[in-house]
């Protein structure tokens, strides 16, 4: 019963594990490059929840710092990724990852 009434570390970890699962699912099954990148964001946010939860229950500041840096890196990554995807769309008229395959022999 206590598990249900008070929020503990396990609750955070469960949500983070679900986010990781959803992110991986999106990365593996979706063909649209934008959706794949959204899956990557989910994975990064799962890691962020982990860092913050562990930081709260370990009592150190490193996890909070790590999460801050991950957020910044994710923003930079999104900028570069969108530039590349827009360029792909200009050339291939599609952002379907599986159809962009001009080099296989």
């Amino acid at each position: 019963m206590e598990q249900l009434t008070t929020i503990g570390l396990n609750h955070y970890l469960t949500i983070s594990a679900f986010l990781l699962g959803f992110g991986l699912f999106a990365v593996m099954t979706r063909k649209n490059a934008i959706v794949v990148l959204m899956g990557v964001e989910l994975i990064l946010n799962a890691a962020n929840i982990n860092f913050l939860a562990f930081s709260k229950y370990n009592g150190g500041m490193e996890g909070v710092m790590f999460a801050l840096f991950v957020i910044v890196i994710a923003a930079a990554e999104a900028a570069i990724a969108l530039a590349i995807v827009i360029n792909i769309f200009k050339i291939f008229k599609s952002v379907d990852v599986s159809s962009i395959d001009s080099m296989k022999e």
Binding site: S16, L20, G23, V27, A33, V36, L37, G39, V40, I43, L44, A46, A47, N48, N50, F51, A53, F54, K56, N58, G59, G60, M61, E62, G63, M65, F66, F69, V70, I73, A76, E77, I80, A81, I84, V85, N87, I88, I91, F92, V97, I100, D101, S102, M103, E105
Partner: protein, 510 residues
Amino acid sequence: MFELPSGAEIQGIIASLKASVGFFIPEIYLSALFMLLIVIDLVAKERKNNLLSITTLLGLAGSTIFIFQQHSLPAGELFFGMYVLDEFALFFKYFFVLSGIIAVIVTMVDEQFDREVKSMGEYYALVVAMVIGMIMMASSADLLMIFLSMELVSFTGYILAGYFKRNARSAEAALKYLVYGAVSSGLMVYGFSLIYGITAQTNLIKISLELSAHGSDSLVMIFASLLVLAGFGYKIGAVPFHFWSPDVYEGSPTPITAYLSVASKAAGFALLMRFFYIAIPHVGLPPENKLGLDWVSLLILLSVSSMIYGNVVALWQKNVKRMLAYSSIAHAGYLLLGIIVMNTQATLLYLLSYFIMNFGAFYVVILIANKTGSENLDDYRGLGIKMPLAGAALTVFLISLVGLPPTVGFIGKLYIFSALLAKGSLYLGIALVGIMTSVISLYYYMLIPLNMFLRESKLPDDKSMNLTLAPQIFMTVLMILTLVFGIFFAPLSDFANYSSAMFGFTMPPQ
């Protein structure tokens, strides 16, 4: 929950930062060079000038002076355990600066850039940024620093791979590099968060102490190790994290292919070595030591599958760049052998030999593509007669990549395999796999000289194939280095031995 630091504590922090900056001069210098290149690009508007490339060359060459000065500094951690200066890091600083210089030289001769892009713009600035990122990868002592520096290298790599933005293959290379890179770095960060949760530390040495003192839940730790290995494996291009590499290597501008396959891979290996040697405890009683054994078996799996997959799939390739991409997967397997037995000297020596021979091979491929406009194996027919020097040089580099004497590649393989056999019969099977796959590699490497020298060209040879003087001199220098270091390898092996000290102490051979 968290108390604000007192004034005295802040004073102490500032003093510590000031002391650390003195150990950080090469990185600061290179960052200044990066910004200078952006400003020069803004000020100098002409399309075709060598101002940017010459500035980059001189700037990178100048940074070796600052790196050389660091030999006299004591090895140790800086910036509150975020960063480390030691002989191992110094080795990779030279390695990356030199590979940056060679990447610029290779870019200057590649005529594809004249056709594909209007201006070189931020290209050279990005090359320098990648050098900074790789230097920081080799010097990271903290999970946060590892993540940041790895992302710096990845982001610049994505942009450089897609630098021919009107070219479909280059754009596709950038997309593939991006998608696989983003996923694997995301997984790596999740692994870091689990390690942080288990140990409450982000510093590599403290993680190791924590793990060996208290042990860990083996299931969680193996899961975290797999996720972390996904990040490192992507950087080094080992099976099963290799899916990006053939397409990226084929589609990218060739200088970037060479740069990624040598420097970015070496940065991944620097990181892997530091993490595996330092953060994973190797001494202790069996329950604590199990993690080290788990890592060894994971790395053996990666290494054997890379050697077999890389060498076997390369047999069917018709594009020389793609063939070299598969060969670089195989070489990641050989390099992993040195890490498995924790012989830093052999691994560093192999990296040095790979540096010379791989840059050489890609350099000749670019020179040939300048003249024929193709990288297909069939178009190499009869080229050995038309440009004998390039043919001879490429043959030497390929013989070195196979690992036959008297080339530097032979010395690299010799050190790796003797390090394996020195550990006793335990690793005999893996050594045999390595030697057998080297024999397989002989076939596909030698297809290129076969086409160049023994088959007649289908094209009428009206086109003049004479190379200009400067590229020929550079190619000859690389060829002579490959041969000379194959015989007089003592300086290389001494340097590799000197560089195997991490955090100020040398790994005891086990």
